[in-house]
């Protein structure tokens, strides 16, 4: 959005100036920021709307904006669900709880976390903040990451939608669940062996003295604003790629057995479709082999541009830079293996 940057700058500047020691102002002007922000946005909206409509009148801009808004509107409810769950974990689940429930040895905790992922019936937007809350609550990061990867791929809603998208093809459903679970568990074990805690940079939550409910609401506010901002970056990238990369590029690659798998794996990263619906898109890519479609469905919930942005926001950039390639490779390897055995 061309106008947005300038607006943010306009809105941000009075804030930063009011934070600095009040040299010119006789007394601190509290609460002005939000009023200014709202007023500026209203003025901007009233005056700039005709100009905005003109800029976005071109078909390609309309299509981009429609896709961008669509990804945001579809993902926000799941993000809200995720941050509410993670805030509830942070505020209401006693710190000792996970020590009792999660097996002591990481080797066992990882597969347990993977299977437990089936209980969170949401897509990947919800599982990232929940994993962040688990790590903060003292769950071993290896187990939390396995949960984060497995949950959007093997929960009941995703299994049912895969079954509906591939009628009369239960092997595809079985292969998807097995490959996702196997890849998620291997990533967990890999982290347990090689992962370093200093790669993680969890944003600090403020300590709250006002009680659990205050902590609960503050965690929702903080997590939504934080992860939501990164989600917007991912949505913008996904909308641009969907709009600008012509589909005709895919056709010649589809025939090739190896390139076809890689092409759909990369496509899954770029288009960032919700795990609850990616099976329908995979089913419609008929020119590709079943293994390639499987790779599309296993890679998508593991890593895509929207998720990478959110993981960078939740766990830090150093983490995301190492985690994303590992998750991609594990997902592709698991789907090729399952494809060779099963499909």
């Amino acid at each position: 959005m061309p106008h947005n940057d300038s607006v943010s700058a306009d809105l941000a500047s009075p804030e930063s100036s009011s934070e600095s020691p009040p040299l010119a102002a006789p007394r601190r002007r509290r609460g002005l920021t939000s009023i200014e922000a709202l007023a500026l946005l209203l003025i901007f909206g009233l005056t700039a709307r005709p100009g905005l409509t003109e800029i976005f009148a071109a078909p390609v801009a309309q299509a981009w904006a429609a896709r961008f808004v669509a990804v945001c509107v579809q993902a926000f409810p799941f993000l809200v669900l995720g941050v509410v769950l993670s805030a509830a974990i942070a505020a209401f689940v006693p710190a000792g709880f996970f020590h009792k429930v999660v097996p002591k040895r990481t080797v066992l905790a990882v597969p347990a976390a993977g299977v437990a992922g089936a209980v969170l019936p949401a897509c990947e937007c919800a599982s990232v903040p929940v994993a962040g809350a688990l790590v903060r609550r003292g769950v071993a990061p290896a187990a939390a990451f396995t949960f984060m990867l497995a949950s959007p791929a093997i929960n009941p809603i995703v299994v049912v939608s895969t079954f509906v998208a591939f009628p009369g093809d239960p092997e595809m459903v079985a292969a998807r669940v097995t490959a996702s679970l196997a890849a998620a568990i291997s990533i967990g074990w890999l982290w347990a062996r090689l992962g370093k805690t200093e790669w993680l940079n969890l944003p600090k939550h403020r300590h709250h003295d006002d009680g659990r409910w205050a902590a609960f609401w503050a965690a929702i506010r903080h997590d939504f604003l934080h992860a939501g901002g990164y989600l917007v970056i991912g949505a913008a990238i996904a909308a641009s790629l969907n709009t600008l990369v012509p589909e005709t590029w895919l056709a010649p690659i589809a025939e090739h057995p190896v390139l076809g798998v890689l092409a759909l794996a990369v496509l899954a990263v770029l288009v960032s479709i919700c795990s609850e619906s990616d099976a329908f898109v995979a089913a419609s890519l008929t020119q590709f082999s079943p293994t390639a479609k499987l790779a599309f469905m296993v890679v998508g919930p593991f890593i895509d541009v929207k998720l990478a942005a959110m993981q960078a926001g939740t766990f830090g950039r150093g983490f995301a830079a190492r985690f994303a390639p590992a998750a991609f490779c594990a997902a592709v390897a698991a789907s090729v293996l399952m494809g060779v055995i099963w499909l």
Binding site: S8, S34, L52, R67, F68, Q74, G229, F280
Partner: protein, 239 residues
């Protein structure tokens, strides 16, 4: 970012989503069932905004110039980006995807290839209204067996494949980002001057003619046209 500014952003995002649900514009972006996701999420965000705003105001009353102003400092600057979808939802309000996208994307029929049953069409309805996807699946994968002997009614928008007008509708599985068209060609006499994106109601019969979509090589069925009538665009343009 200060806490009161955060409250404003939460209010705008939540309020924007509630407005989409209220006006029905959400159907331009997501499936109808998403209404039941958008509304609770919007209400929660507005509630969080209200609580944040009230807390900020209360703390301000309590601590006039002590260190109370540090509340919420260090919050991510990235949250300002949430204004982008707000501008998109409230100000730009893009239309549903139409012929521009459909002309650049291959027809989506493949997902129906494994369908096992094609129930008989009712004999007491004339013409029989069908979705484009249903018609195309019956025409291509069932060789039109269940279509023979019926007059069919289809509703979609016009797009041009070169000079040739086609009927199309966008099929959405989750949100508009994964929208893909299903296309049907016209056989027989067609009125001239059909504009792209114009919504039409087509009445006709099954035609064995088939074409190919150059973009992905998928088959495109045809319909023997009896009449083409211009209609206003429906509330939900996707299928």
């Amino acid at each position: 970012m200060r806490r009161d500014a955060q409250a404003v952003i939460l209010l705008l995002v939540g309020g924007g989503m509630l407005r989409l649900a209220w006006t029905g514009e959400y159907l331009n972006y997501v499936k109808p069932y998403a209404f039941w996701l958008i509304v609770p999420a919007g209400i929660i965000l507005v509630a969080v905004a209200a609580i944040t705003g009230w807390n900020a105001w209360r703390d301000k009353q309590e601590a006039v110039d002590a260190d109370g102003c540090h509340d919420g400092h260090g919050e991510p600057k990235v949250a300002w980006l949430l204004l982008a979808p707000v501008i998109g939802m409230l100000l730009v309000a893009p239309d549903a995807l139409g012929s521009y996208e459909a002309e650049r994307t291959g027809t989506v029929l493949g997902a129906e290839e494994n369908r096992s049953t094609y129930p008989e069409l009712p004999d007491d309805v004339d013409p029989v209204p069908l979705t484009l996807l249903d018609y195309a699946a019956r025409a291509i994968f069932d060789e039109g067996e269940t279509l023979e002997g019926h007059r069919i009614q289809l509703r979609g928008f016009i797009l041009y494949d070169g000079d040739e007008p086609q009927l199309a509708r966008m099929v959405v599985s989750c949100c508009a980002a994964d929208a893909r068209p299903v296309k049907i060609g016209f056989d027989g006499e067609i009125p001239s001057g059909l504009e792209p994106d114009q919504w039409v109601e087509v009445i006709g019969e099954y035609s064995p003619q088939q074409g190919r979509d150059e973009i992905n090589g998928a088959l495109v069925p045809y319909i023997e046209v009896e009449s083409i009538t211009e209609i206003p665009s429906p509330e939900n343009e996707y299928q």
